[in-house]
């Protein structure tokens, strides 16, 4: 699926111009916890998140995220948009909530690019 199809399906707003809407998206992941993104998302996925600070862009860069989708119609602070523009990370805002946005993309056939983080890691005692 191409990035511009995702923008259309999510009724999305593209937040800066350094974006290649023809980029091919392999899959997606959704998380608000940046450490979860770093641990579980596969390269070239798009990230759906409710977080809007510049750290989202940094996280995306480290984890080779293809594009960031901000859910619940959030408008990020200027610093976030500027950093995303500088680093050429597409930033898209959608009015849909996390649950609905993920659902729409999943139904449209986009696959999951989140790797399960094992139980042992999360609940070790």
């Amino acid at each position: 699926m191409k990035l511009n199809e995702i923008v259309q399906k999510l009724n999305g707003k593209v937040l800066h111009s350094k974006i290649n809407l023809d980029a091919e998206v392999k899959g997606a992941g959704g998380a608000d916890l940046m450490s979860d993104v770093l641990a579980s998302i596969q390269p070239q996925a798009i990230l759906l998140t409710g977080l809007c600070n510049p750290q989202v862009v940094r996280t995306a860069m480290m984890a080779d995220v293809l594009a960031i989708v901000l859910v619940r119609g959030k408008t990020p602070p200027v610093e976030t948009v500027q950093l995303a523009e500088k680093e050429h990370i597409p930033l898209i805002s959608t009015p849909f909530g996390m649950f609905e946005a993920c659902g729409i993309l999943y139904q449209a056939g986009l696959s999951c690019l989140e790797r399960p983080v094992s139980d042992q890691d999360c609940f070790a005692s």
Partner: protein, 344 residues
């Protein structure tokens, strides 16, 4: 849909591609062309100070000017302000009527479409498509004529920028990826140091981005660059979140391994074993709002590196040492990565 339109346009105009098949390399270039169309300003590619005509001129003079200067169009200026444009098509209409003694006003286009000098090139491209004109006068904020723009100017400008761009990155990559090749020593390494300020959330991740980029340029595989990026990023955020005075990230790059050392002078960790436990965190609510502080940082780091050692003395400081070993095919700075790419 400006982007796809631009694709189409460049395919039409540039003689770059001989076959109809587009390789990955070329596809990459198209993307960059699109970016450049947004980055480059009209005034950077236009022809400045074009030949202009005045309203007092006759069509015969226009013909003479076109012939002498070998141009096919010119803007018409009155007291510094652009008032019209005359093109070879207008001249042909005039010639058909054998009307060369007519005033320029009779054949010129009044109030022509214009672009502003500080508009991005993509705006001009859109206008060329929607208006079907062959040239656009370029004006400044005060409405004064500063240049003229044709589609050819845009193509030339983009190709020039693309070439510069490509060469700079190629040279950088080549240099960096062969860094160790010609240096003889018992053990050669490159050390990168970054000072991280406590509480500096705005710049959180900047050092890690630079480290990741440096490794990519030195020929590290995407996987290695990513592992290093994630590990240093979590460590960098830890310095920002937890330290009193900030700390240092020191990365030593050798052909066979990357050693990352992150240290600070306080406050230290009270219980190192507890800190390593997934889900354990002392982070504040503010930090959690940023998407960190869930007690997963150290766990993430240990997943990304081959060796990890955390030492801390409460009240003194913390030192986190990490190592990533590079297999023969992943070695950096020796040109191997570049060589294997060539073989493909």
């Amino acid at each position: 849909m400006p982007v796809s339109f631009l694709n189409l346009k460049m395919t039409e105009q540039t003689p770059l591609r001989k076959s109809s098949l587009i390789s990955d390399q070329e596809a990459e270039n198209i993307t960059r062309v699109e970016e450049l169309a947004y980055e480059i300003k009209v005034q950077e590619v236009m022809t400045p100070n074009p030949i202009t005509m005045t309203t007092s001129m006759k069509m015969r003079e226009v013909l003479e000017q076109f012939r002498v200067a070998r141009i096919s169009g010119a803007p018409i200026v009155e007291e510094g302000q652009l008032i019209g444009i005359i093109s070879i098509e207008d001249l042909i209409r005039c010639l058909i009527k054998a009307d060369l003694e007519a005033e320029i006003q009779k054949y010129m286009t009044h109030n022509p479409f214009t672009v502003k000098g500080d508009d991005p090139v993509v705006e001009a491209l859109k206008m060329f498509v929607s208006t079907k004109v062959g040239r656009l006068p370029v004006i400044n904020k005060e409405g004064q004529l500063i240049g003229i723009l044709t589609k050819g100017d845009i193509t030339r400008g983009l190709l020039k920028a693309l070439q510069q761009d490509y060469q700079t990155e190629e040279v950088r990559r080549y240099r960096a990826s062969h860094l160790f090749e010609d240096i003889e020593s018992e053990r050669t390494s490159l050390i990168l140091r970054y000072n991280i300020k406590a509480g500096d959330f705005t710049h959180g991740g900047e050092a890690s981005s630079k480290i990741k980029r440096a490794l990519s340029r030195m020929g590290a595989s995407p996987q290695i660059a990513r592992r290093c990026g994630i590990a240093t990023y979590e460590a960098e955020m830890n310095l920002i979140i937890h330290t009193t005075e900030g700390g240092v990230i020191r990365v030593e790059i050798e052909p066979h391994q990357i050693s990352i050392d992150v240290y600070d002078s306080g406050p230290g960790i009270q219980d190192v074993e507890l800190a390593m436990k997934p889900g354990y965190s002392t982070a504040s609510e503010k930090v959690r709002e940023l998407g960190f502080g869930a007690g997963m940082g150290l766990v993430n780091i240990s997943r990304c590196v081959d060796i990890m050692k955390l030492e801390s003395v409460w009240g003194k400081g913390t030192r986190l040492r990490m190592k990533i070993f590079l297999k023969k095919e992943d070695t950096v700075g020796e040109g191997h990565a570049a060589k294997s790419l060539e073989e493909k």
